[in-house]
């Protein structure tokens, strides 16, 4: 049985991530350091999120992890060196790069968009600029991979059956 820890550090919809993980048959744990997979969901804005992580000591726990961590949406952006959001915020530095404001189209960028052949649901105003980008969506970073960290800009937990399949692949690799 695979164990998954979902980092809790602020207000937002973390319940859907939890439900998605439970549907795949994994066991939830509060042990972020020891879980087979740690998930860093995205809640709130960059500054309040980083403060929330630091207050709970989760920043150091995540930096120390050698087993896989999955960042979702803002969770991806927090893993970078820094974000332009809220006038500039230092990130966890798990992945080289920075989160920059989306400059084209309507912002927030909300809705379903393709990553390769598959459409996933996105809701974001910032996007990663990073040498670790391994997949894009309409020219914006959709997936970053660096060491044990994988970040997705979309919400697999809100992307119906396609999102569930994505999470299943993440779990099968840990």
């Amino acid at each position: 049985m695979k164990t998954v820890a979902i980092c809790r550090y602020g207000a937002g919809n973390v319940r859907s991530v939890e439900l998605a993980v439970l549907r795949l048959g994994a066991t939830l744990t509060d042990d972020v350091a020891g879980a087979d997979l740690a998930i860093l969901p995205g809640v709130g804005s960059a500054r309040t999120a980083m403060e929330g992580l630091r207050e709970r000591g989760l920043d150091d726990v995540l930096r120390a992890r050698t087993r896989p961590t999955l960042g979702i949406c803002l969770g991806l952006q927090l893993a970078l060196d820094e974000s332009e959001e809220d006038g500039g915020v230092a990130g966890l530095g798990l992945v080289p790069g920075r989160a920059v404001r989306i400059r084209e189209g309507r912002v927030p960028r909300i809705g379903w968009a393709h990553v390769g052949e598959t459409a996933y649901w996105f809701a974001h105003s910032y996007a990663a600029e990073s040498p670790a980008v391994t997949a894009t969506s309409e020219g914006l970073a959709a997936i970053v991979e660096h060491g044990p960290f994988t970040g997705v800009q979309f919400h697999p937990e809100k992307s119906g059956p396609a999102g569930a399949r994505f999470l299943e692949r993440c779990l099968s690799r840990v």
Partner: protein
């Protein structure tokens, strides 16, 4: 730009989906979880649940409904109705909703938009604007809010709203088509996504709305029948609309 979105809207009262004319003579049409899941299976891109009751324990009821929906529905959903504070919104999001929609409460105290955006992020904050003849209406469109619609739309953006759900009261229930001119004016005034609402009678109307707005809210056109969404999607694809 992401793909155009089709968003069924379900009116909820006391934990049930209801249908009524101008909030009167409410008729029970089903369970929000069952209908929501059926719309999701039928190809809905997102769902909107609007709590139209004004009961005392509204927040508890809303949270319970959101929690039940989140267990079965794996596409994004917005919860609206009775959200007056960051605490109200947080409770609904923590139960599993992705966005909240605010209307009269934001008109009464516009700072609410900033408070919600700073705690939950702009992407979780939808401001619903009911408009008639270029003016904003509040309290289920029963009162004049003494605001110009385009100016209010701009203010919502400046305060941190993530999306605008624009309902034309002039067109609502007429089935004569969305108010395209209004949607264009608001779309030009803001850089946020705009969700069109009010007036859909056929697939052509929806296709036209998706030409000027990011998403179309679907209410009476669906007749509370998920199969109608399947046929509507087919008609839209035939008309050249690129859907998920």
């Amino acid at each position: 730009m992401p793909l155009p979105r089709l968003i069924p809207c379900l009116d909820v009262a006391d934990g049930r989906v209801v249908k009524g004319v101008r909030f009167e003579q409410l008729r029970d049409v089903g369970d929000p979880v069952e209908l929501g899941a059926a719309y999701s299976d039928a190809g809905a891109d997102e769902l909107v649940f609007l709590d139209i009751t004004a009961t005392l324990d509204k927040r508890a009821a809303a949270v319970a409904t959101a929690a039940r929906v989140a267990e079965q529905v794996t596409i994004p959903f917005t919860f609206g109705g009775g959200i007056r504070s960051v605490d109200d919104a947080t409770a609904v999001l923590e139960a599993g909703a992705d966005k909240v929609s605010v209307n009269s409460a934001a008109l009464a105290r516009p700072e609410l938009i900033e408070e919600l955006a700073s705690v939950l992020g702009s992407q979780a904050v939808v401001v619903a604007i009911d408009t008639e003849a270029g003016r904003v209406r509040s309290h289920s469109a029963t009162r004049d809010a003494s605001r110009d619609t385009v100016e209010w739309a701009r203010e919502c953006q400046e305060r941190g709203a993530g999306e605008l759900l624009v309902t034309s009261i002039d067109r609502d229930g007429t089935r004569e088509g969305y108010d395209l001119e209004l949607l264009e004016r608001i779309g030009d005034a803001v850089s946020l996504p705009v969700i069109a609402s009010g007036g859909a009678g056929n697939a052509r109307h929806v296709a036209d709305a998706l030409g000027v707005a990011s998403a179309a809210l679907l209410a009476s056109i669906l007749h509370e029948d998920p199969q109608r969404l399947v046929s509507l999607r087919a008609e839209l694809k035939e008309a050249g609309v690129c859907l998920r």
